[in-house]
Assembly symmetry: C2
Amino acid sequence: MGDWQEITGGVTAARGYRAAGITAGLKPSGLPDLALILSDVDAIAAGVFTTSHVKAACVDYCRQHLQAKHSARAILCNAGQANAATGSQGVKDTLESADLLAKELGISPEAILLASTGVIGQRIKMDILRSGIPKVVAALSETGSDAAAGAIITTDLVKKSIALETTIGERPVRIGGIAKGSGMIHPNMATMLAFVTCDAAVSSSLWQQMLTRAADRSFNSITVDGDTSTNDSLIALANGQSRTPAITEMGPEAEKLEAMLTAVCQHLAKAIARDGEGATCLVEVQVSGANDEAAARQIAKTIAGSSLVKSAIFGRDPNWGRIAGAAGRAGVPFEQDNLQIKLGDFLLFENGQPLPFDKAAASAYLKQIAAESSLPKDFVATNNSNDLSVDRSMIQPQRVDNPVIISVSVGNGHGTGKAWGCDLSYDYVKINAEYTT
Amino acid sequence: MGDWQEITGGVTAARGYRAAGITAGLKPSGLPDLALILSDVDAIAAGVFTTSHVKAACVDYCRQHLQAKHSARAILCNAGQANAATGSQGVKDTLESADLLAKELGISPEAILLASTGVIGQRIKMDILRSGIPKVVAALSETGSDAAAGAIITTDLVKKSIALETTIGERPVRIGGIAKGSGMIHPNMATMLAFVTCDAAVSSSLWQQMLTRAADRSFNSITVDGDTSTNDSLIALANGQSRTPAITEMGPEAEKLEAMLTAVCQHLAKAIARDGEGATCLVEVQVSGANDEAAARQIAKTIAGSSLVKSAIFGRDPNWGRIAGAAGRAGVPFEQDNLQIKLGDFLLFENGQPLPFDKAAASAYLKQIAAESSLPKDFVATNNSNDLSVDRSMIQPQRVDNPVIISVSVGNGHGTGKAWGCDLSYDYVKINAEYTT
């Protein structure tokens, strides 16, 4: 793979970061619900936020903050209440949260970024937050990433965390990240969140550019059910504590850093897709031969998001017709006579025409991937904070390193792109329909 | 409603049309599979076809035909094989089909339009078609619409047919239509088809404009699973046999004709959405306050197509958060403080904030609509041509006149738009996953 190695530590793997996750009491379940990430020094900050026109107060807050000021010290995240569609009082709650944390940390409120996840239309339980803030600050530690990862999840079955290390100027540089998201299991409970920490020194405009591109190649290329949340946020800090030379323009070192940032984001994005509600396996769609990367990714996302393709994978059905149909409706022109479709190593369709193939073997390939997609039970995350009465025996640790591979070529162009999704099972409908308010 | 009345007769309600539907043997099930609609005289012809870049040979054939020549006498439709992704041989089969029918009818091949539905990647069984064409011509009758409606369906649970009559220049003018479509129940079996006949005299460019607008307000505003097929076709003929004055430009009479054409298309479109795989009810989303009709319709379609909204309706859950979330991600800017959401008569959300409402009563509203959405058993279409081993006891006649109503207002603009969909049930996944090749 890339020119880096996986290390432990999540968001506290990079130098100069501490993190914490505690049970403040915001969730009815009594599971952890308040997370804090703190950089020892001012860090360059970049963000990518939901494109929805219905959005949480914290999203507006962060977007305004990052437009005015490209740095931050801390990210505070609560779970339980999304503070979206809560009107002017929601805005006041956001500002008060920042003020309270700033006082507790002895820093400026302008150095604080905020994220929320939970029930849309519910304000943050401010009494509980007020008493929780001193506790989460007191819990900060250089090994606190796992606790933070557990406190930001809601209906996720597993925690999502990664850290990678490379060398720049012969010194180690690290990027770590944690994330949450699994579709929208709870009525009105939504959201994909990801927080990334880096100890390289990088200019703010370059860091934002890198993050935007990395988001397009990761979080913007996954689909569970096609629904964008009101609270989706990706925030990345770079605090320079690796003491490597500052990176201010694109070049070999910037490319190395961006590649590792992209890898961190892709790992977290794939973990979210794999944890899609009711999913039994991760699906990776690889598209080549398009005119450019955006066109290729558009086709890949359309295939990964097709309910018919997703249902077929759940049925272990090597159904090339649905893949061809989804590719055709992606809004990207191509000559159907150039279309090629592969499922794993099975070539199903070439030059615009179906090929004979071993259907039983192709179906067996899908069955095998699904069977291997859960890890042994003793890998199960124990810190699951699901608020629902989900059958805990359902909870399986998940592999993201062995997806079902769908490869599609649409022509002779140089554009390639990937997207990730999951299969569509009975449990998706069960999860999303059976809980009624 | 509009300035018209419903009459019987489907596509043979308008003057100067005959139709037929027979069992040629193209479907393995032995159910009817070959339909023909014939105008006694040359009719103005307009069409709207799939936007997919993977498409059937008959779609290319019709599109080329209608670009060169805006008239036709006959529409031949086979079910069983889609003749999509069949390469150059598929094109030859299409041309041969037109030639064979032209000879049998004693007319020019250029007067023939073609449609296919069935398995993608399968050529039409030409031996069977060759022997079927004389039979379907022999079966033509002025009361043949019902047989034709039964011969174009594949996995549909019910036939779809409508006819309306109005007066223009004190003479009766009629428009009738038949359609098929219910999502994609069978692996690779797809497609929405609709054929409309009219006995008004109208210029070809105006007829095409009317049909394009009517399609946007009907077939392009429904969603079952978001998947566009390779074979989707809407073809409308206008043969002038009402002997009313020719309509050559927009004006009161043209508007009257277009309104009735739109009503025919909307009835058929709603019947397709209601027949969505596994659906228990029809859902109508009404959006107002947008800048224009296209923006309103875009929001309506996004809500109607949201898996989360669809699952909530199946769960009889008045989940305004999912409706707000879908509205927000539709790609149409609006101020969330202007958002208003109603479910039936229940006002759930106003001025960007949730309202208290009677959740039990709102849930009861959804339960009641679903309970009323099936008609008594003795209304069941007996001519179902489902190729699969679907439990026949599942088959319920369906109401399209009593949908679940979701009303959304996004501001003070004059743009309004509607979309139709259905709920997402376990049976959707069951139908689409359990049949494996």
